[in-house]
Symmetry: C2
Amino acid sequence: MSKTKPSIPKGTRDFGPEIMAKRNFIFNAIKSTFQKFGFLQLETPSMENLNVLTGKYGDEGDQLIFKTLNSGDYLNPKNSTIDLPNESSKSLLPKIAEKGLRYDLTVPFARYVVMNRGTITFPFKRFQIQPVWRADRPQKGRYREFYQCDADVVGTNSLLCEAEIVAMINEVLKKIGLENYSIKINNRKILSGIAEIIGAEEKESDLFVAIDKLDKIGLDKVLEELQAKDFTNDALAIVRKVLSLKSNGLEGLIEVSELLKGNATAEKGIAEINEVITYLETLNITADHLEFDVTLARGLSYYTGAIFEVKVHDVEIGSVSGGGRYDNLTGVFGLPDVSGVGFSFGVDRIYDVLETLDLFPNTNEDSTKVLLINFDKESELYGLGVLSKLRNNQISSEIYPDAAKMKKQFSYANNKNIPFTLVIGSDEIESGKLTLKNMESGEQNSLTIEEIIKLLK
Amino acid sequence: MSKTKPSIPKGTRDFGPEIMAKRNFIFNAIKSTFQKFGFLQLETPSMENLNVLTGKYGDEGDQLIFKTLNSGDYLNPKNSTIDLPNESSKSLLPKIAEKGLRYDLTVPFARYVVMNRGTITFPFKRFQIQPVWRADRPQKGRYREFYQCDADVVGTNSLLCEAEIVAMINEVLKKIGLENYSIKINNRKILSGIAEIIGAEEKESDLFVAIDKLDKIGLDKVLEELQAKDFTNDALAIVRKVLSLKSNGLEGLIEVSELLKGNATAEKGIAEINEVITYLETLNITADHLEFDVTLARGLSYYTGAIFEVKVHDVEIGSVSGGGRYDNLTGVFGLPDVSGVGFSFGVDRIYDVLETLDLFPNTNEDSTKVLLINFDKESELYGLGVLSKLRNNQISSEIYPDAAKMKKQFSYANNKNIPFTLVIGSDEIESGKLTLKNMESGEQNSLTIEEIIKLLK
């Protein structure tokens, strides 16, 4: 066996206990919220057949799918379609790789819905929290393996679902202690309405791509870009008006509806947003964080109704959540007219935000609550009885496995972020009063085991 | 875009909501037990560099590792080491694939320990619950993607760790409702002692492989196999004596210790088992399920001390848990003398056992607790207020998103295993008394929202 100096593939990460506890804090907030709102969990295989994955993410996406080599003798000479001397990377690929790693959670979900349409009860509210893989060039904040957390409702057009997405975003961000953020909302129909008004139905995607850049490049550059794509001066004038209206909160919605009045498509989009707002009021959800943003396009052709995106203030970072309504999730697999609405959280970005703002809780819910210090054999044997009482009361607890130096045992407790230690010497055994030490404050108390259980439970 | 009829790779599975809820029941029992005993979670990347994975699982294992194709132009003609016309599957592999999918959780754990030895606090108690992949031929109960649930303590020789493993096995199986099982225990040193006594130190693995088969092929066949491997008649006579002693419970241990008296290695192994039993008594853990089994070898050369395996009775199935102590986890990565003890649960097998014995709880903890029936717009608006009160009290709840037919809404509740429905008609709105229906018993009650919250919380 070779003694390799081990490393991990670039763009991937180990999550040690401290980081896992923080990640679980985020996952728990998301998962418990999804469940509270009636979403059920789905898990799909890490590997999908390549014919399921390819053609769904554009040419660039196809390049970024990790392919798994067929098992066994993948170049088997009996495979007459392989003409080795004349093969290129591209021509050989489909002959030696039939499977790839999941690139997102949406395509596997669509595949699942199609394969199980006979047994699924619609409306189907599913959530899915699993890693995905992309052969992207690794860089700060961009990984080759990362988790996605998606929730979707398919099989209903009710705008209540959109309102519940806003409610879930609020609930998750509240649970993790984030207060200063905006939930940007737009509607694809408003964007389409603008395209209709300026006579650019055929050039929708050019228009949306340019509008989407407003934040980054500013109004003048957006208009320049459109001019280069042969948009008329009249069209540019209207676009300028719409984009200049952009104001914070929900006021912009009123201004935009004034401006687009008379266009049925845009009016439908505006009415949908208003219905979502009405639902939120009825649900007693404050619309404080809601912000209409007519420039929000996200992924262009995919969405057909509402579009969401969540921006955290105070930290320079991309959106931490986003989603929207779509009309045709499963058409690519031959099942038309499955519409739904979904959204997802970006756990890695949320992690960075909480770290930057120092919002992770001090207490580590995943860790041991109390460490029993192991003095000597007598203390150990007595301690084991104590340990079993603590655990019978569902208190996470452990005893140091050897009678090591005190300093070592206390530093073990500190490194593991264990909030309490319990010292059991011969005095303690005799009196039945154990010394409970609060590791943060340094405070020590002589307590009976019953008192300790009451305190720690 | 092609309208492919979608499928999933053979040997992989989708876990829909109903199955996920059952799997989570098992995962929660395991995870909460690991945490209660002071184990911390680790997650490692799904992909590892192939030089980390290969050479660790034997030649057959190497074949079963899923390899991921290098990204981009993997056959790049600039890669002068590729001589396409003359390449075979074997020769080309290292040139086009540098990464593979995790084959188990032990090697990634060893790699993690080596890479982070400077920052880890020892003894390091880590657990890990993640999928692994093996390009095995799929068959009933054997999958190409499945979860492993491992817990290990490294950096201590204390036999308390062995006792705590027995305690954790008992606790997990109790939590999931399993009562009729044996925790088989053996010690590698006893096996080595037997090899010493019969003068077969050089042929240990032949001996252990044969002994391991006793259950399957019977004593005579085991002895035949050893005879074919040139074990002497004297040796066979002793092996026959040892294997004939095998009795249930812990009585066999006394008989074996009589028989092997005088051999220091075997005596050490027997003393270790006795110390584990003493620890269990001190922890107030019943040794009822513990069964000494001198034929238990599991994986041969790997273990150096205790060996465990859990057999469930009432169901014909392999072991549902197993593990042992090892002396040299990380030697293969150049870090010698990291000893520890670990074990793992087989979730798929446990799932099959609980399904066969009908032990899964009827209630689905993951699902919605109450569905609000959507009559009409008035009922919906009133319902949304009720919904927000339920959710503020952490009760998982949802309202049907459309005013669909009653029958459809009730069957939605049934299919989702939702235990209660709430009917809100105009009478109910007027009186403030809502009709809560228990979906299993059919019982209906007129209750105020406060009474409902109290009942469901």
